[in-house]
Amino acid sequence: MSKHRALSEITRSPEFFAGCADVAARVVNGADAGEVAALLAEAGALLGADAAAFASFIKDDEAYESYRFVLACDATWCLEYESGACYMHDPWLEYTRHHAEPVLAERILARTDQERAVVDLARRYGFASAVIVPAQAPYGLTRLAALCLGSAMPDYFNNDSLSAVTFAATALALRLHEWQIGQLRQELLEHTRLSDEDIELLRHQRLGHGSKQIAKAINASSMSVDSRWQRLNAKLGVSSRVAAANLAAEYGLL
């Protein structure tokens, strides 16, 4: 187990960065969630962690509907965290909303009773010492992510080797983030069955083209463009073509 080795020993190993980079490179778009969870576990072990959790969510999401996780940690914790919707009160994720710098979890204040309970639960299941690595969204999207590495040993990450760990972990977090966005994009495509023509329509809207301009570009009548928008808006469950294009952009479709 990695916890038997000092973090300095792990990070000074000549294979440390190459090993982490190799795992990050294997997180390819289209890989299934199980494969990525296995890669996360492998990366966690290379980074000296006993447990690793990756979370991705939209910054301003008040309904908590955008939250997605890849977990490589104690199954009991995963179950309790998910069934108790602990992400609603997770101060480590809250930190990610407003900060881009990696941080030791012990430096994040748990303000409410629920936040304390979430931290206590994490500490009991492999996160006695933890480091949070935020990842900002690629392509200017508003989706954020955080990679959390945990050790059952208290203060394990609290030493001079932390910067090497966070450096390697940041690259992994960004890669996981990109993979997650790809997954969501695929989910949206499968769920809504968007056609290439639909995506073309959305692209036109993103460029600010009106019905007449679109009609000319695709060689159709304005009325037919409007009726295609009607169907597309219904398919996406949005109120307008502007909302449809924003949604598509948020999922990285455009």
Partner: protein, 357 residues
């Protein structure tokens, strides 16, 4: 287009309750809204029948945009109606009867207001959500935003009080659920007091709490002690009514009774068209749980959802008496468990209780 306009017009019925309140204030008829909701609303099923199972049309863009703004229009109408009510109370000599009447009528109006607030709280746009919190605060239930997010994220959980236990009465469930939510949001180390003000959930909760406090103060300033008394009663009754509706929507469908309750996100779906209009789709509850961000005017009823044997008003009274509730609902639950894909509709009849027997 005409067909779509006719269908879209049904959604305007959501304005009936605040419009009636304004009219009641004009006429100085304290019990008008309460009486109309209890006696007339259930009869609307005779006229409008059941929700179209094929779902709403692919609305024209103009109609969709108008329906999307309807909750904002509603909020303005409600604010106007409340101002008229305050004016009416301050002008007349208060009696116990008039205070009770206004409290009951305002309660009924505000219960519907929570449905509109609920619609706004699910939206992605920040401005919509802020209006949702303001509306929830004005309706006397400022905890709605937090409570409802919790409800969706722990859907089906009986231990978290998101679903009642199958043997639990509405009274016990309401106390258990309100206790947990009040503690988590208003406790000394709860979300509203100790939470990070940059969090959207904390910000929303504080906006709603400020609105409720300001509304109480305005009722006091404008209408004296009768105003304070009326609004305080409304806060209590709306808080209870939200738990009552949750009970009606999820009884028997929690993880104490249904194996896949957490994943299945089951909810009783009443197919009464009028009820779906005036609750902004909240009564099409299972569909809402499975796609919470879908706007009310694009929500279709689930084809294999459990269907209650009567509408909300009738069931509300049944729920108050646990023995009656079980007698009415247990056969409907048994039917759904045995034949989930063959739901029964009351059509234009007021109830289909007898079918399940």
């Amino acid at each position: 287009m005409t067909n779509q306009l006719a269908k879209a017009a049904g959604h305007l019925t959501v304005l009936i309750a605040p419009a009636l309140l304004a009219w009641a204030a004009w006429l100085d008829e304290p019990f008008l809204v309460f009486g109309a909701v209890l006696l007339v609303f259930p009869l609307a099923r005779l006229a409008f029948g059941a929700v179209d199972e094929t779902g709403p049309p692919a609305w024209g863009e103009g109609i969709a945009a108008t329906l999307d703004r309807l909750p904002w229009v509603y909020s303005a109408v409600l604010a106007g109606a409340v101002l008229m009510l305050l004016s009416a109370i301050s002008r007349s000599e208060p009696t116990m009867g008039s205070v009770a009447g206004w409290a009951l009528s305002l309660w009924m109006t505000m219960v519907f207001a929570t449905c509109v607030a609920h619609e706004l709280l699910h939206r992605k746009r920040k401005a919509d959500r802020i209006v949702g919190h303001l509306l929830a605060g004005l309706a006397g239930y400022p905890l709605l935003g937090y409570e409802h997010s919790r409800h969706h994220q722990r859907s089906g959980s009986c231990t978290s009080a998101e679903c009642p236990n199958v043997t639990e009465s509405v009274w016990k469930f309401a106390a258990r659920r309100l206790g947990a939510i009040v503690h988590e949001s208003l406790g000394a180390r709860g979300l509203a007091v100790a939470g990070d003000s940059r969090s959207p959930a904390v910000r929303g909760l504080r906006v709603a709490l400020t609105t409720t406090s300001a509304s109480l103060a305005i009722f006091g300033l404008a209408a004296g002690w009768p105003g304070v008394l009326i609004y305080t009663i409304v806060i209590g009754l709306v808080s209870f009514a939200v738990q009552l509706v949750t009970y009606m929507q999820h009884w028997g469908l929690g993880d104490d009774n249904i194996e896949d309750a957490r994943q299945g996100e089951y909810g009783w779906e009443d197919d009464c068209q009028f009820q779906a209009w005036v609750t902004m789709g909240l009564s099409i509850h299972q569909a809402h749980h499975r796609d919470g961000s879908r706007p009310y005017y694009r929500t279709s009823i689930t084809t294999d959802s459990p269907r209650p044997p009567a509408g909300y008003v009738v069931l509300m009274f049944a729920a108050l008496f646990p023995a009656v509730w079980r007698q009415v609902m247990a056969p409907a639950l048994a039917y759904w468990r045995s034949q989930p894909t063959a739901p029964v509709s009351a059509g234009r009849r007021l109830a289909c209780v007898t079918f399940y027997r």
